[in-house]
């Protein structure tokens, strides 16, 4: 299933941010453009991260370093929860008769 690709302009539209903000995020490694045949593009995953970053910055007044850390922790958290839920369900099946 191919992910939709956005140029910088499209990306700013979709993520509802300006190019300066994107540049800041890229500078801190919060989002990274991908490359193919020499041109750069973003995907929905970056758009989602970007929107979250903006919200965290505005609503909780985090600076971008805090935002970067928060995003990484949030994503790790989600992965762990999914893993735990999965393991828990499999264990239940092993146990039930």
């Amino acid at each position: 299933m191919a992910d939709e690709r956005f140029t910088l302009t499209e990306f700013c539209q979709v993520a509802r941010v300006d190019a300066d903000f994107v540049e800041e995020l890229v500078g801190l490694g919060i989002i990274e453009p991908r490359y193919e045949a020499g041109y750069a593009y973003f995907t929905q995953r970056e758009a989602s991260r970007c929107r979250k970053a903006l919200r965290l910055q505005n609503d909780l007044e985090l600076n971008l370093h805090g935002v970067a850390l928060a995003l990484e922790l949030m994503e790790a958290n989600t992965r762990l929860r999914r893993r735990v839920a999965y393991l828990s369900r499999v264990m239940d099946r092993l146990r039930d008769s």
């Binding site: 941010v17 903000f21 919200r55 609503d59 999965y86 369900r89 499999v90």
Partner: protein
Amino acid sequence: MNIVPPSKSREKGIEYSADDLKLNAVGQQVNTVDFKDYYKILGIEPSASAEDIKRTYKKLARKYHPDVSDEPDAQAKFQEVSEAYEVLKDKDKRAEYDELREYVNNPNRFRNAGGGQHFQFDGNFSAEDQFEDLLRSIFGDARGFDPRGRSGGFAPRGRDIHHRLHITLEEAYAGGSRMLRLGTMNGEKTINVKIPKGIAEGRELRLKGQGETGRGGEAGDLYLQVEFEKHPLYDVEGDNVTLVLPVAPWEAALGTSVEVPTLGGRVNLRIPSNSQNGSRLRLKGRGLGNGDQFVVLKIVNPAITSDKDRAAFESLKGQFDFDPRKHLDRAHG
């Protein structure tokens, strides 16, 4: 207040949902707005200091921020709390609000005095109207108020709608479509959502232009977070599917070939001899998309219901010089 209550029901493949959680209460298309007690919302006394208000707001903002919160009504609570803070943080606005609140709680006190410092409490204007005016004066056009709308000056594109889409594993495996009914600011709308074949859990589908209509600008987008319904047989992690397979002790010990279900139909699985409980076998490419199906063996004993059954087991016991707890005895005395 004309809020569609949150509800979810499945009916003939149509999924109902109310998007009310994403709507600011003030942004409803109604004539009057219910009065809200901001002190109650923040959980503070009306006599709280500006410091208290700020500190409490910040704590609650962290607690209910939808990106980080586990709370059930995080989005709605966050907007409520933000709205409360916007009003109470300003000395003048707070004074106006306090008077309104006083009137709502003690209408007679003002009736006798003919009015208060800020408002005229006669028959012409209800407290609700004045409350709405107050909010309008703070937030501008009440419709579409979003405490987060500070991302810079852009064309007034409609807001995005975020929603969860629950699908079955079969739908994810084969792809398909689903009718989705949404409640939006402009009423209900029904959308046909295409489910891409092999979609994994946690992916987000973006439906361009299906969000809220913009005021003069483009419509926002609709984002659907894909989640799988619990399946009677399978558990999913990423694009891998796991099946717990019950087997008889002799099947695991001797090895055998069994037919197992997969999302794409039944296939033959070779169980190697000397398999153990919990052994994991892999059916490559039988998961979602490029994922695999794992088969975890669950050895199940037959029940002993007769002397002959017992004898069979006793015979097994006699045959094997087998101590499964050998390592336990030695290491831990």
